[in-house]
Point group: D3
């Protein structure tokens, strides 16, 4: 087939003869993420976008760095449940069911929590030192959707009427909320930083 | 086995000998939902909770009633993609990708749109008369999570620090937002009304 | 990658940068199908063949137009269960289990019925006016197989011996049945019309 | 838990401590089926109904006995594709796509054919001696639906109007076809015999 | 699209217009495999590698030839459970659970056994004549991993320390074991022969 | 429903009203495993057996403790792929494909490797201090099968003929290998310790 290209799940597949051990390795799973942002946290997904070796394997990992009092902003993963293990620090964490019941708790080093697929969840570092967590997904492509960004930082903006009626506040409040989430701003860092890097290559 | 009970997917399964055509029927798919609420819309899911006959079938429907200018508040379905067809009226609709790009449009009668699984989406009736839509899910249990309720109307409340840091506003704004979503209030009507009825039986 | 082409599920995938809202829209879900055929009904699937936007979404819709006393001929969907909602009219409908038990009923406006995957089912308009139904599938590619066409209208014909022995009638009856289902004829309209259009493009 | 009962996929699961090798064995896969029926063939499914050991394994087998010139009547399997291998004899076999194209061929000993999920297919023994085939399914519960039985041998009967309009013949022909498929009659043997036995236990 | 190439699951898909009945046929399912090897058995998988027609069908078959006292060496199938039916002969067969419990038995002609996905299993011909079995998988690509080959016949060798510590024996024993499984040698025949042929084409 | 019991995937499901945050928590993910065994390593799965909260979530974690030069013995996971991240130490690791090709490498702190489902793999601590790794599975019930235990430590023993022929050595070598893997012995510690504890409760 010479120059032909094989694609599985929309991703290129190497010719088996060209595969090396390097295709199964990812080498930077302890480089601290930049927490110098408004929320003071940085989640780095190692999924099919960073690590093509997980294609068809149905599993991915993430590590989350927290500055003191840093927040991994309320978000959800559209395509996978998560197990989250605290490696360093003490955190307030929780998730919200589709009946709007909040399950929240304080996690210490060695504690593990499950966040079911697509439910909104968060973690807040309660300590005055950095914290660290590892987490896993039962999907090679779990995705991440930050709630605040999805509503107030979209390109283009969602129509005012949708937000004023949806959140039952006037346009000034909506504008105030939007102003916090411009492209140069904040929570977008959490989970977006790698996408930025990728789009520059 | 006499009185034994068979459960599939956590739901009771009738003895095949006791099954009748009624187990495959749902009879109220044209009863208008109550749109007399703050957002002016009402989505009525016909899924495994209302219609046990869809268990293991992997499909569900919903109809959405809109008062004039009514909003089906920004929400997502954790376990299924949606096809949404406008039966009456003209609507502004959209969804937000995990790159925070908004895809929005104006839908007229006969228009169909796809909302991918777990992405936040909405519809706003642009007309001064009632509107109606039918939609379908590739899951018998797609679920529904309203964004505003998930953040501001949980029981119990999410810790203030999570919301002030997550939305980058002060506690007064958070309190203002929360006050709109008390249990007696609003958008909870959208998708919650049936759950209330069920819990009373 | 320039001119490379990405395929998922055997279908072309657009470059994400080229995707627009139009890729998620289908615009003709209220154009009546042509019921001027022998059975007097026309089912129009909006699945991956007409609407590439449903690829990987696992959901599809169909609308069915019925002339007075029109029949949506006995058929099955090989790759998905169906929820069927009557929008206008009164119909006799049923499906047959793999134990050859018939579950049948009369459906009125607002009634919903489930047809399990791959079981033979039908609907007959009992009224002297047009009828209309919407239905949904838990698959982006449910397919449709008409029973009569599959047996008597194949290209080429199934060997006589299979049909005479299978239906326990002589060749004259088989020939009579076949003569009703030539390529210019009838029930093939139900579900075939769009395929014809597509193959001309 | 004493007397509690665990069910998976609607089937009883033994306590692991009570499991023996016998739970993984089926002992009669060479007992010829009774081909003394109108079609002269008998298919014996070894699936979850006869062999509980396949529960959750996603695989099943069948053997088909053919009398001379016997027919495995046109049928389909709603929940699994089939690989069919001729062990003894020569057969005419085929299946019909959802575009009503017939793919047919003559199979000899050692030939294997695939029948895709839910497409109508058949095999006819072309020889004057018995024939035998083994086949496999990628499902523990593939099911079997005979076309003629599903239309003409249901309990109760499908309404005449559906069949006269669906097959475009008058009621006399429908009645003639039905008369061949009474409960005491024929093709029902193919695939139904075991169900009868089971219901007597 | 002219010369474009469509790939599903990493395999080429023919243009539907070019598909013939031959694409659904495999013609050599009774050619005895070469059992002239150290173990005296030969398993011939008819899966997606030999028979592209099973792509997306989720099912495959295998036949296993046994010389007198021949062994189908301990192995596992990473991606599918197996049903195994004895066609000729008497065999000792078994599999080992993840609690290291052995379920073993003697199989006679007509006996069927299930081997769950990825558990190590084997069959040993107990007779002084050839034996034959057919088996099925609920996957089009079940794969096969021989235990001895996976440990002692890899290219390159696994580091000595892993094997001496893993099997708790000294290097001489490991070397003795490895010497039996050079590329020119034995059990590799079981399941590898076809791969060799394919790589030469 | 009073005392009724709901089971999903063969596991008890709590009544939603009785669910608390504790059902989503696992509290001992930093208790070092006992590496005082022949291989000098201990893998502790946190899957559905230890942590019922992962039922239906499709994800699990494991941590692996290594004594100096400790080995996580060659093993496989029948129902899930693995991502393995080194937290402390330097290791030699590898896996073997179904073509018996070894992919091996040296992993340092921060390195991540993928082990595909059901392929045999191992890690060996190359350092004179303890090492630690976290790993994740795309399954709530990945299982673990040690190769040496599965062949030489089964209850009861696999027939000698199978092992002498399968490994091409005489009975003395087999007996030597078996003697290392009695119930009081070694590699069984790796992954078996928790099962022992559970069976005592």
């Amino acid at each position: 087939m010479g120059s032909s290209v094989v694609v599985v799940n929309g991703r290129l597949c190497k010719n088996p003869n060209d595969v090396t051990i390097n295709d199964f390795l990812y080498k930077r799973f302890n480089v601290p993420g930049d927490t110098n942002n408004a929320q003071g946290a940085n989640a780095t997904l190692v999924d099919i976008n960073q690590f093509p070796g997980v294609n068809t394997q149905g599993v991915a990992m993430v590590w989350v760095d927290f500055a003191p009092y840093g927040l991994n902003t309320p978000h959800l993963h559209p395509r996978g449940s998560e197990i989250f293990a605290v490696v360093e620090g003490t955190m307030y964490a929780g998730f919200v069911t589709s009946s709007y019941k909040l399950y929240d708790t304080i996690l210490k080093k060695g504690d593990v929590i499950v966040f079911p697929q697509s439910l909104i969840h968060f973690q807040l570092n309660l300590g005055k030192t950095d914290a660290l967590a590892y987490a896993s997904f039962g999907s090679q492509n779990p995705g991440r959707v930050n709630v605040a960004d999805s509503v107030f930082a979209t390109t283009p903006h969602i129509l005012d009427n949708v937000l004023t009626k949806g959140f039952q506040v006037d346009e000034m409040v909506i504008e105030q909320l939007r102003s916090q989430f411009s492209a140069e701003n904040i929570s977008v860092n959490t989970g977006r930083s790698i996408l930025k890097l990728l789009s520059q290559t």
